[in-house]
């Protein structure tokens, strides 16, 4: 499967912490972070998912010269309507062997896991797909093991 290189930068951690509304100095202030239990700047727990930034083929990022499925002149940039209402994120699990810190250069490898189906009243047939992702550091040590479950719905989720 895909193997990505994820260089972890302090500015990326700071921007990520801002985007989740977390003002904890352990995510941006090196001096303050030194005095915490973490001993230095670390990344917030769910930061690992930002590896998407380093996937050159990531399908949820618009790319120059390619049609994008979001709106422009028309409500979608695609000429053929997709038969699916798109994928949603169902579950996300992280196991931390240690926490990510600036300067880490992670090698990230994903493997497909189980797949299953379920019938739901709110969205029709649900197709679940699991993937397991390992984040290893520059010394080959395992930093995070992640398990993600995505779901494709037959129709948009009803809001009742």
């Amino acid at each position: 499967m895909t193997k990505l290189t994820f260089p972890v930068e302090a500015s990326h951690i700071m921007m990520f912490a801002r985007s989740i509304g977390d003002t904890n100095p352990v995510y941006y202030d090196a001096d303050a972070a030194k005095k915490t239990e973490a001993g230095g700047i670390i990344a917030p727990p769910s930061f690992a998912q930002s590896v998407a930034q380093f996937n050159p083929d990531y399908f949820l990022r618009p790319k120059p010269g390619q049609a994008w499925f979001g709106s422009g002149k028309t409500a979608t940039g695609l000429t053929e309507k997709s038969t699916s209402s798109g994928g949603l994120h169902a579950e996300q699990h992280f196991e931390f062997h240690r926490h990510i810190k600036p300067g880490d250069v992670l090698t990230v490898e994903s493997m497909p896991g189980k797949a299953w189906e379920k019938e739901s009243k709110r969205a029709g047939i649900l197709k679940f797909r699991e993937s397991i992702t390992e984040y290893r550091d520059q010394n080959g040590e395992l930093v995070i093991t992640a398990r993600s479950v995505g779901v494709t719905t037959e129709r948009p989720v009803s809001q009742s």
């Binding site: 977390d22 670390i42 727990p45 930002s50 996937n55 798109g86 196991e95 931390f96």
Partner: protein
């Protein structure tokens, strides 16, 4: 500061408001930091006219990230060993979310104390939008 096992008991909980009147701009900010630019989260035209939802909605991972803030505010920095969630309902612009972390178990493994938490994040109507579990190292 690290939590101390001696000062905790099963059933203790920490509750925290993790966002108030969630803005579309914060959702865009999360798209930028995470790299997930799915138009479902920022493109009202696509989301209402093509995808068939009443409006854009937040990334599940934004709710996880904001809930993580409540968890680390409780257990301390760099002490989490596990954090897992299930997204149960969508989070919409304007939502005000509260995360609740409740102690399910206090245990010792290989000389190290741990706390197991059950997580629940609810919106302003009391509707659960995310459930989860977390484990952290704590002091004796």
């Amino acid at each position: 500061m690290a939590l101390k096992a001696s000062a905790l008991k099963v059933g203790d909980s920490h509750s925290e408001q993790i966002c108030e009147n969630l803005s579309r701009t914060q959702i865009v900010q999360y798209a930028g930091s995470s790299g997930d630019y799915n138009p479902l989260h920022s493109d009202e035209v696509y989301t209402t006219q093509i995808a068939g939802y009443p409006s854009v909605f937040a990334h599940g991972m934004l709710t996880m990230g904001m809930t993580g803030k409540a968890v680390t505010n409780y257990v301390g920095d760099g002490t989490l060993t596990k954090f897992g969630v299930r997204f149960t309902n969508q989070v919409w612009p304007g939502d005000t979310l509260t995360a609740i972390a409740k102690i399910a178990e206090l245990r010792k493994e290989g000389g190290q104390n741990y706390v197991d938490l059950v997580l629940s994040t609810v919106n302003q109507d009391g509707k659960e939008v995310m459930t989860g579990n977390a484990t952290a190292r704590i002091d004796a």
